[in-house]
């Protein structure tokens, strides 16, 4: 057990921090402080910085155009970018492309697939999305019914997917389909790679309760893809899906933590701005939240430690997800209570993503907190509901029966 950061790591961190500081303007307060219409231009300049410093695909091996950084270096870079108030993903499709698709190709892809797809992710030519859930298959993923059959060297796909993040912006999709209806449900699935720009594919955005539309329904009506566009084995799609769902490896554990720590500071500022810091129930509530944040810190550091030391976190990733999603809902509930009548007609500022705290540098106002409160409601549902997370811990760690 050694809970210090090593000297080498601190040197590397200092180097990254210096580069970032040189790049950023003097009055930089985080991307949330930029007027929304200037953010795209900033992201483009930032992409240039990443390319210049060979940090654009930092976790990919060099042979596919990545930076080949070690787990420790990735962690440090992610932390430093987060600390600077810069999002780690530059487009809405980066999570699916740079992270999920690329990492899965490295596990299950053929050499040809890697050589073909990875450079196109890097260049931005291919923008990926994922097709897993269906209206009838949410927590019970193995029950998907979208079907694919092989005809004349092409897969013909019919059915529907839902909750496809950034599907309206993507031109490729990895999609879990049923290729054999006659075997037990886990064994008849295949992961296909599918070009979206074709008549058989229809994308319909879903408006969420925060007013945004990040997710989509995707309909397949004799959609087609080439026979070789199978990731992994035919009828072996379940294993590939499990790889993808298990890709929460820990490189973001501490950068996510930094976002929550920054948000907690905003929360304390809010409490003080509202003048409620002497109220007994506020003091008690804030102390309880701080304790939860500290526990989240402990769990996040442990997850990061496992990642850096090359261990597989496995089911121990579930307590981290549970901790942050439930902490987040409690914190935003407390912020809403603090806002009182201000929250009824909030400012027009609306945080966009439901994946975590408002952007760094964003105004600390009623719009920010009302939007964040709404967004936080989704956190116990996506990426495996809290109920499923608890089942995972109960069955895989405590060995309780199904």
């Amino acid at each position: 057990m050694d809970l210090n950061f090593g000297t080498d790591a601190e040197q590397y961190r200092a180097e990254i921090r210096r580069k970032v500081e040189e790049f950023l303007p003097d009055d930089w307060r985080g991307i949330g402080a930029l007027p929304p219409d200037e953010r795209t231009a900033f992201i483009d300049r930032w992409r240039g910085f990443l390319i210049e410093n060979n940090l654009i695909a930092m976790h990919w091996p060099r042979e596919y155009g990545g930076a080949g950084l070690s787990a420790l270096e990735q962690t440090i870079v992610n932390e430093e970018f987060t600390r600077a108030g810069i999002p780690l993903l530059l487009t809405d499709n980066d999570a699916s492309g740079f992270q999920l698709m690329a990492n899965t190709l490295l596990v299950h892809g053929t050499q040809e697939q890697r050589r073909y797809f990875m450079p196109r992710i890097l260049s931005g030519e291919h923008l990926w999305c994922q097709g897993f859930s269906e209206p009838g298959s949410g927590s019970d993923l193995a029950s998907v019914s979208t079907s694919a059959r092989l005809e004349n060297g092409e897969w013909i796909i019919n059915g529907q997917k839902i909750w496809t993040s950034a599907g309206h912006l993507a031109n490729w999709m990895f999609v879990l389909v049923r290729t054999n209806p006659d075997v037990p449900k886990h064994r008849g699935l295949t992961m296909l790679l599918l070009p979206m720009d074709q008549p058989g594919v229809t994308v319909r955005p879903i408006r969420q309760i925060n007013g945004n539309a990040e997710f989509n329904e995707v309909f397949f009506d004799d959609a087609r893809t080439a026979e070789e566009n199978v990731l992994g084995e035919v009828d072996g799609g379940w294993a590939v899906a499990m790889t993808i769902l298990g890709l929460e490896r820990g490189e973001n554990a501490t950068s996510m933590l930094l976002r929550f720590e920054a948000e907690f500071e905003r929360f304390v500022e809010l409490v003080k701005r509202l003048g409620r810091q002497d109220e007994p129930a506020v003091r008690t509530g804030v102390a309880e939240m701080y304790l939860k944040l500290r526990k989240l810190r402990g769990l996040s550091l442990r997850a990061m430690s496992a990642f850096v030391n090359g261990e597989d976190l496995g089911p121990d990733a579930a307590p981290v997800k549970l901790a942050w999603s439930e902490y987040w809902q409690d914190l935003t509930d407390l912020a809403m209570d603090g806002l009182g009548p201000e929250a009824i007609l909030p400012t027009e500022h609306r945080p966009r993503g439901a994946d975590g705290p408002d952007l760094p540098g964003a105004p600390n106002d009623s719009g920010s907190w009302v939007g964040t409160w709404l967004n936080s409601r989704a956190a116990t549902i996506y990426s495996g509901t809290s109920e499923i997370q608890r089942n995972i811990i109960g069955e895989r760690i405590l060995k309780l029966p199904k």
Partner: protein
């Protein structure tokens, strides 16, 4: 000794009729769908509902018989607000009712009498900031060349802002707080889309030298404010019971229908017990709301405390129920098209009106333990 009455929670035949009639009307007029249409497309979709409520003469349940009402009937009013909450009725019924109560408790004059008459007829919709403070209020009151009071400025967080005819508020006049009715030009009011509770069509109402009329509370302004605060809190608490009940019904229905892993999800205890906890919260809050209504009806000294405790319990129950219903629905509950967020927003927005939970807790602590020294 004969049987009862002794703490009898059952509804009288008349009360059951009232609840049934109102429920039938709300269902006939489209229930939640009407709300959805009013919110998404056309605010006037809520007109039939307002007219239906007016025809039932429900405002009179908050006005003493001596001034043309049916007498203040808190139990009946709670039943009404439960139903309105269940259907997320997108009309400014509660503020209008509270304004009517306020008008009925003011010294009669021509303006008051006309306003009260119109309100009782359902011809007037009012906003009310007497029992609570107006939000972001910037109202300046002066006099026009004829010496008549005029108000300029605006208030935020007005329910159904686009349909409001006037506002009852407290503002400084000649150096002291006075109760005023300020006429509203509907052209200057509109709902704002970022409102927390989209089903309220809440928004900002602005005045520019609008005619204002001073009203004189019979028992003084402070006493009127206190009365309206208790009544407003009680009825909002009752509305929260309706929000909770509709949320639990919605969640339970989905849990019976939705299958995953070859079973209805309601058979999983994580789902079942979550809804049960929400049901228990609602049931206990229900008893506190009606006990508080009884306190108010009988003028018990503990009324303000009973109402405060009922309000906290009802807010908690509504938040728990609406949050649980959303979670039980999963992804579909997070979509704009689904009703889950409408209930969640209503539950939360109602919780924001009458003081913070943290402040209520400290009031309770003070009652139990004494002042912090």
């Amino acid at each position: 000794m004969k049987k009862g009455p002794l703490v009898d929670f059952s509804l009288s035949v008349e009360q059951q009729d009232l609840a049934r009639t109102l429920e039938a009307m709300l269902t006939r007029l489209g229930g939640l769908d009407a709300c959805r249409t009013a919110v998404e497309e056309d605010p006037s979709a809520a007109e039939p509902l307002w007219n239906g409520l007016a025809e039932m003469g429900l405002i009179s349940l908050a006005v003493d018989e001596s001034v043309g009402g049916a007498g203040l009937l808190p139990i009946e009013l709670c039943l009404v607000h439960e139903a309105l909450g269940r259907h997320l009725a997108p009309v400014p019924f509660l503020p209008t009712l509270l304004a009517a109560r306020a008008l009925s408790r003011c010294r009669p004059d021509a303006v008051r009498d006309e306003l009260l008459g119109q309100v009782l007829d359902g011809g007037l919709r009012l906003a009310e900031f007497v029992g609570t403070d107006a939000v972001s209020s910037t109202v300046e009151v002066g006099r026009d060349v004829d010496g008549r009071l005029v108000a300029s400025g605006g208030v935020d967080a007005v329910w159904s802002a686009a349909t409001i005819d006037g506002v009852l508020l407290v503002a400084d006049v000649d150096g002291g707080p006075r109760l005023l009715h300020v006429a509203v030009d509907r052209e200057r009011s509109r709902p704002q889309p970022q409102a927390l509770d989209v089903s309220r069509l809440a928004g900002r109402v602005e005045f520019d030298a609008a005619p204002a009329h001073e009203l004189v509370p019979e028992d003084g302004l402070a006493s009127l404010r206190e009365e309206l605060r208790s009544l407003g809190r009680l009825l909002l608490a009752a509305e929260q019971l309706g929000v909770a009940s509709a949320s639990i019904d919605s969640g339970a229905q989905w849990a019976r229908e939705r299958h995953q892993f070859g079973r209805p999800i309601g058979s999983f205890q994580a789902i079942k017990h979550r809804l049960v906890n929400a049901y228990n919260d609602m049931t206990s809050a229900w008893t506190l709301v009606y006990l508080a209504a009884w306190s108010l009806a009988t003028g018990a000294r503990s009324t303000a405390d009973d109402v405060e405790e009922a309000l906290v319990a009802a807010n908690d129950a509504a938040m728990n129920a609406a949050g649980s219903a959303l979670q039980v629905h999963g992804g579909i509950g997070f979509t704009w098209e689904h009703r889950s967020h409408l209930y969640l927003r209503r539950a939360r927005a109602n919780s924001q009106v009458h003081g913070r939970r943290s402040a209520h807790l400290e009031h309770i602590a003070t009652r139990v333990l004494g002042q912090e020294s």
